[in-house]
Amino acid sequence: MSAVALSRARPATRRHRVALACGLAIVLAWAVVAALWPHLAPYDPELQDPAHRFLPPGPGHWLGTDQFGRDTFSRMLAGARPVLLVAPAATALAVVAGTLVGLAAGSRGGLVDEIVMRVLDAVVVFPAIIAAVLFVALAGRSVTVVVLVIAGSFVPIVAKSVRAATLVEREKAYVEAARLRGERALTLREILPNVLPTVLVEATSRFGDAIFAAATLSFLGLGQPPGSPDWGASVSDNRLWLQPAPWTVLAPALAIASLVVGIALAADALRGRWEAS
């Protein structure tokens, strides 16, 4: 039987490793772009050139120009920064808060757990996008609000899966053995190390979702101000010029797609590896 398990696990883990490497490479590449785009971009992304509007992709402008004659490629590179600021911040906030809530609820159990979970259930059912629209539109458009809204809508998701993992671990005999010995800091010393894989998988998955959410909010006009090179905002701004200059829309759209797909690949590979082990 062990031979069966062995041979089945092998190719799967190799595939996971390749997917993880691909995914991480894409994410890393965009992170480098976000940090260093002023050195990488051939033009100033804000530089208007009325003489060269709607240039199709070519040798001078690799991805053409938009209705103000701005270079699409440079704007695409510059657009990586806002997304890669908002999404990691929101993810970190959500994962830390969600892990704390999930660990506390899961290891405490009883009434505390019941109440926390009912509240989270109630919150999680409320569509995140609607909450985001409500808060960003009404509380004012700022990076802080966007980060808080995205983080807030992810906290229950993280908390619920960390709690589920904690409940599984809490019932295991090694935790009971520690209780019999009267160990202190049971949750941190005994349970947390075994819940960390769940936290890691959650973090990668939520990171992808945070990019998704940040881009969508920008597209809806609730994130970065219009006219900024942000990807979501660019798609929104340029969709009026879909007919004459599709590249102005496609470039930021495909940039978003490549980043989220990279993260999704990495997250899936992490989950697969963890489940295989």
Partner: protein
């Protein structure tokens, strides 16, 4: 019980004889390999055996020896990575491995029947069981109405009460035993020529297992098929099989009539497996169990020469160099060993340790009074009184759901709270472990059932032991603690995932003993282990107990295991202690009718006593606990109507320190058969009147 005593034992060696035209199963020189990350690995190598129609052939061995692969190859149903690389499987002369896909399906439909372990999994959870059986019948051309009639008849044949109601249920609405009956009913459709039973009773309670085995015995006589039973359980094989093949590292190392192989094994592996199993009525004072050291090689890792040599006490250079041939060792008895002649008598393999006979128990260490624990509204432990003496091993037996684990956990301070008192050295102990003081916590430790869950997977063995030593104020070093549990020092820096089940349980034992406890609660510590490993863990538990004088509350569903280790035994049924007393008295009887059914099941496994007619007709799903009278009344063969179902039974004394909760007079209570009973105790007891 079997129709096959008359078949001549087919010796596996004679491969030159023409095999076509022979009735029954003929496996010739069968080899199976798996593709792994490291290349091809041989899982089964050159296996040959024959099974005549009506004969039952047992295949035994530890897990990882290729039993299951061999079983799957018989139905030509290997997993995608596996492939037959040589040999043939013929049934009634036709080679199964040569059949076209369509012919293979037809052959499976008409000639093959397979019963796997854990029947629940073999049934589609989203279909009513009647419909599942009808589907098979319809696939064979039966009409709708005819199929429905036939389903009811089949369910009746496997002795399920009220077939019409069973047919309408979904698998999850049946008990494990009932599910297995349904699967056996499915195997009866048509007239299979080959019946493969792959660990058919693993995971079932002893009494249920007993009934299922009876049913299998009944059925195989009826259909007259060649039967192959795959099991790790020597007792089961001894009971059910005419002939036995012992599989080690994918090779048949011994074959012969079941009673010859088990009474006088000709291969050291078989002998070692036998010496590892505690027999009913055998105590640790009679014989030390001997474990088989090491583990079987993984497929593809078998050493040159004899594959068993690294674990064998008799091995020499010849064994390590030259693979032994299969040689005759008696009538129809063959073995693959260079040194068969030097094998010691299996029963004498372990000499009794210097151990004082069980005498008067010491002063009470732990006194449980009126203990009740509930899950929801059900009292899982109901008003239990129990005492554990200083230095005493108290064994607690009962079927699953009897409340024995809940009781053990309550002693440790885990699980739901409830009423009742627990006194440690006469001082009351808080119910929850969190409210016990450090001293009380250090004095009571626990060893858990699942070796995989009882160690923190993210700590190394050293960290696990060091943490226990710190919190339990132990004075030893982790190295010494590990050594006292028979663990190699190099294992200290590995994590649990790299340990075998037996090693994990040794770490758990070392951890429990870190702070010199007075009482260790052992909750089925060996039930998840292979027999060869189980012996080592039992022996370690026995040694630690003898060395430290610690008391045990030892829980098991296996009467032979409890009887081996315990000084005193308590029997639990549906939350109540129905009997308790010195181990040999409880096992020998007179005992409670429920204990008697456990004893019968345990004895029948080794074929040491005739199986009694099942008094528990296909155990309907657990009925609610009756409000009045004796809880066992519904299943009891000696029930007195109007008394047992109305009045709660009194606690009667059946001899010195031996009490039974039953309406019957101790003189009328059942006893174990004389030939199987443990040695009589030193003093002959007088029966006395019920306790006031």
């Amino acid at each position: 019980m079997s129709t096959a005593g008359n078949t001549s034992g087919n010796i596996a060696g004679d491969t030159r004889e023409s095999v076509s035209g022979i009735a029954g199963l003929a496996v010739e020189d069968l080899s199976v390999t798996y593709r792994t990350g490291r290349g091809e690995a041989a899982a089964v190598t050159g296996v040959s055996f024959r099974v005549a129609p009506g004969e039952t052939y047992g295949i035994v061995g530890e897990s990882g020896c290729g039993k299951t692969t061999l079983g799957r190859a018989l139905g030509r149903h290997l997993p995608p990575e596996g492939a037959v690389t040589g040999g043939s499987v013929r049934l009634d002369g036709a080679d199964v491995l040569e059949l076209s896909p369509a012919a293979l399906r037809a052959w499976r439909a008409t000639s093959l029947a397979v019963v796997h372990q854990e029947a629940g999994g073999s049934l589609d959870p989203t279909m009513r069981v009647g419909a599942q059986l009808a589907e098979i019948l319809r696939a064979r051309g039966h009409g709708r109405a005819e199929a429905r009639r036939e389903v009811l008849r089949l369910l009746g044949r496997v002795l399920l009460p009220d077939p019409a109601s069973i047919a309408r249920r979904y698998p999850h609405q049946l008990s494990g035993g009932q599910q297995q009956r349904v699967v056996i009913a499915a195997a009866l459709i048509g007239r299979p020529r080959l019946l493969v039973l792959d660990e058919p009773t693993t995971g079932l309670d002893a009494t249920v297992e007993h009934e299922i085995l009876e049913l299998i015995g009944l059925v195989r006589a009826e259909i007259g098929a060649a039967v192959v039973l795959i099991s790790h359980d020597l007792g089961l094989v001894a009971r059910l099989c005419d002939r036995v093949g012992v599989l080690y590292a994918g090779r048949l190392v011994e074959e012969g009539r079941a009673r010859d192989v088990l009474a006088a094994p000709a291969h050291p592996y078989t002998a070692a497996l036998l010496a590892a199993v505690p027999r009913f009525g055998e105590s640790r004072r009679d014989r030390e169990l001997t474990a088989v050291p090491g583990r079987p090689p993984a497929p593809g890792d078998a050493p040159p020469g004899c594959a068993f040599a690294p674990r064998c006490a008799l091995a020499d250079d010849l064994c390590r160099r030259t693979p032994p041939p299969l040689e005759a060792r008696g009538a129809g008895h063959v073995a693959r060993c260079h040194h068969s002649a030097r094998l010691p008598e299996p029963r004498l393999a372990g000499s009794p340790p210097a151990l004082a006979p069980a005498g008067e128990p010491g002063p009470p260490l732990l006194e449980i009074g009126g203990l009740t624990r509930r899950y929801g509204r059900t009292a899982v432990v109901d008003d239990v009184d129990l005492t554990i003496g200083r230095g005493e091993v108290l064994g607690l037996v009962g079927e699953s759901g009897s409340g024995k684990t809940t009781l053990a956990r309550a002693v440790a301070g885990l699980g739901p709270r409830g009423s009742g008192t627990i006194l440690l050295d006469g001082r009351p102990l808080p119910a929850a472990v969190g409210r016990r003081d450090g001293r009380a916590r250090r004095r009571i430790q626990m060893i858990f059932q699942s070796p995989d869950a009882s160690l923190n997977p993210s700590h190394t063995v050293r960290v696990i032991l060091a943490r226990a030593l710190r919190s339990l104020r132990g004075r030893a070093a982790p190295e010494d603690l590990a050594a006292s549990a028979g663990l190699d020092p190099h294992l200290l820096d590995t994590r649990p995932a790299r340990l075998s089940g037996g090693q994990k349980q040794r770490v758990a034992i070392a951890r429990a003993f870190a702070g010199e406890p007075d009482l260790v609660v052992c909750d089925e510590p060996v039930s998840a282990l292979d027999v060869s490993v189980q012996a080592g863990v039992l022996r370690l538990l026995s040694e630690r107990q003898r060395a430290t004088g610690t008391s045990y509350l030892f829980i098991s569903h296996d009467l032979a295991v409890v009887g081996y280790l315990a000084d005193r035994v308590a029997v639990m049924y549906r939350g109540r202690i129905v009997e308790e007393g010195p181990a040999e008295r409880v096992l020998r009887g007179p005992h409670h009718p429920y204990t008697s059914s456990l004893v019968a099941a345990s004895l029948a496994r080794f074929g040491e006593a005739p199986a009694r007619p099942g008094q528990d007709p296909a155990g309907a799903p657990a009925a609610p606990v009756r409000a009045t009278g004796c809880r066992y009344a519904d299943r009891c063969p000696s029930r007195v109507d109007g008394l047992c179902d109305a009045e709660p039974p009194p606690l009667r004394t059946a001899g010195d320190r031996h009490r039974v909760r039953c309406h019957l007079d101790p003189r009328d209570l059942p006893r174990a058969p004389a030939n199987a009973a443990p040695h009589p105790p030193r003093d002959e007891e007088e029966f006395s009147a019920p306790d006031p």
